[in-house]
Amino acid sequence: MKQVILMFLLVAMLSFADAPIYGYFWFRYTYDNPMAPADVVNNKNFFSIERGYIRWKTSTAPVSVSGTIDITLKAKATNASDWNVRLKYAQADWLLPYVTMYLPETKLTLGVQKVNFGIMELWEYPVIEKSIEEVANKMSSADLGLGLTGLLPAGYGDFSLQVFNGLGYTKATEDNFEKALCGNLALIPVPGIMLRGSYWKNTAGPDSMLVEENRYAGGLKLNYRLVTIMGEYFGTKDGDVTGAGYMGFIEVALNRGLSVLGRYDIWDVDQDTDNDAYRIMIGGVNYRISDVLVAQLNYQRKKYEDTAEEDEDKVMLQLKFSY
């Protein structure tokens, strides 16, 4: 309740200050395991608000300040405390005056900001599921730290170098003096072909039990007329444990409002251990009802390598409303 009051106070204050407020809400209906017998599956279907972004931005050149509050009603909510109000982004961007002559829009960003890593950075949820990095629970989409980002000349790509606490935006502080480093480079050598490479290194845990974490991603995005194809290799090395995965995605626009989509993921958290991998297959349709409203219908199947584990199915219908 305290969080909700604080949020409304903040929004009222920003409205008074004339800061532009914008954002979006995602209203979702999920039907878990529709093929399973009702008596073995709890919460077979439910409504949720998976994302409720309220954003604001104000700028006095060369510095701009922006923030995003995320209001969600967790999936399978059972009581009022399942409402979640949290700060997703809160950052100050300083456009660097001389560097921008050579590397356009290069800026220094301080605060809770987007982690520019792999396909996660590009992922605008054309299908409802998160990117492979987040589904594997190996990366957080935002973190607290300092970043240098910019564009390559003539629109040939972008770059970023970031330093973070390394625990994601849900935790403010960490237990050690080690900072996470994240580097990303995207190249667009010809229109419609984008190559990306990302690297993340962190030393996590309390000082007495530090573990070195490495993350690698290499990806390709192709756009040709009405077809978009994305592919990525994602690798991890946490101490001695090596994980690897692949994600492939295709979207075909049938017309300006309607598109069909498919995605296929493989993720193996420990390549030296058997029966710990899974595959995710997703098929979906997106329909743009208006400029501010998109409907998504997805069928998703998660298949475990371990045959003792039941496969999981879900059907999701989502309305994305932006304002």
Binding site: P104, E105, G155, P191, G192, N223, R225
Partner: protein, 264 residues
């Protein structure tokens, strides 16, 4: 039989009509509209749709493939070029005319010249009264174009130097609206494309230079700029034919008739 021939001709016309969509800058709009009318008169099979919306909107439409030509009163930003290339669009710009952003005031205002420094102070809200800059009409009413406008972007770059526009500014969606508001408001100051300057408003010198064909062409007027059309790749087909027409002698005459400055 006659009905069959008429239906046949309609079907033939529908199948063989060439369509072209143009969207973007409201500054370039009158040139595009007039040129489209003349082009369609000369090419009966051509079907050209021209829309405004602002340079940003036109460029966004080119990137999402909903227009063939984007009109823009500013060059594309690197961020827009990157987004376009990522989506498989190769934006190529062609300069079709030159323009000067004219600073206009109510005709009753005695001011005849303003420095860029004072212009910046007025549009950022640091100067709010006319007597401080040699004008008349007490309180200054600031009239600006909205953020989707290329005219705003160029004014923002050349005058405001990216400083924040005063919150008191009226943000209007077209050159015509700015012109009308300044005409009807004694203390108003605004800026519009050179081609929109009408008798009912007063264009003033900026840094002691009046916008005209000579000062815009030799770039001595500080708010001079080229006007562009953008296409996906080098213009081809009907888009090329249409752009070639604007660049031809009759096309450049249209540019001049609409109050802008021909490039040739």
């Amino acid at each position: 039989m006659k009905k069959i021939i008429i239906v046949g001709l309609l079907v033939f016309g529908f199948v063989f009509s060439q369509k072209l969509t143009i969207q973007g800058s409201t500054t370039v709009l009158p040139i595009a509209q007039y040129a489209a009318e003349v082009y369609m008169d000369n090419n009966p099979n051509a079907d050209i749709t021209v829309r405004g919306g602002g340079s940003g909107t036109g460029i966004a439409s080119l990137i999402d493939r909903s227009t063939d030509i984007a009109n823009s009163s500013r060059p594309m930003k690197t961020k827009e070029i990157k987004t376009a290339r990522e989506k498989g669009i190769n934006p190529v710009g062609t300069v079709i005319a030159l323009d000067g952003i004219a600073v206009i005031v109510h005709p009753g205002n005695k001011i005849a010249n303003i420095s860029r420094q004072n212009l910046k102070a007025i549009f950022t809200g640091k100067i709010t009264r006319w007597e401080k800059v040699g004008g008349s009409g007490s309180v200054i009413v600031v009239v600006s174009r909205d953020a989707a406008s290329g005219t705003f972007e160029v004014f923002n770059e050349k005058v405001l130097e990216s400083a924040k526009l005063t919150d008191a500014a009226l943000m209007l969606a077209s050159n015509l609206e700015v012109c009308r508001t300044v005409e009807q408001t004694p203390g108003a100051i605004g800026y519009i494309g050179f081609g929109y300057v009408a008798d009912k408003v007063k264009a003033i010198k900026v840094d002691s230079i009046m916008p005209n064909e000579a000062t815009v062409k030799n770039n001595s007027y500080p708010l001079s700029r080229p006007l562009y059309v953008y296409t996906d790749g080098r213009p081809k087909g009907m888009a090329k034919d249409f752009i070639d027409f604007i660049l031809s002698e009759p096309g450049q005459r249209i540019v001049k008739e609409e109050g802008f400055i021909p490039i040739k």
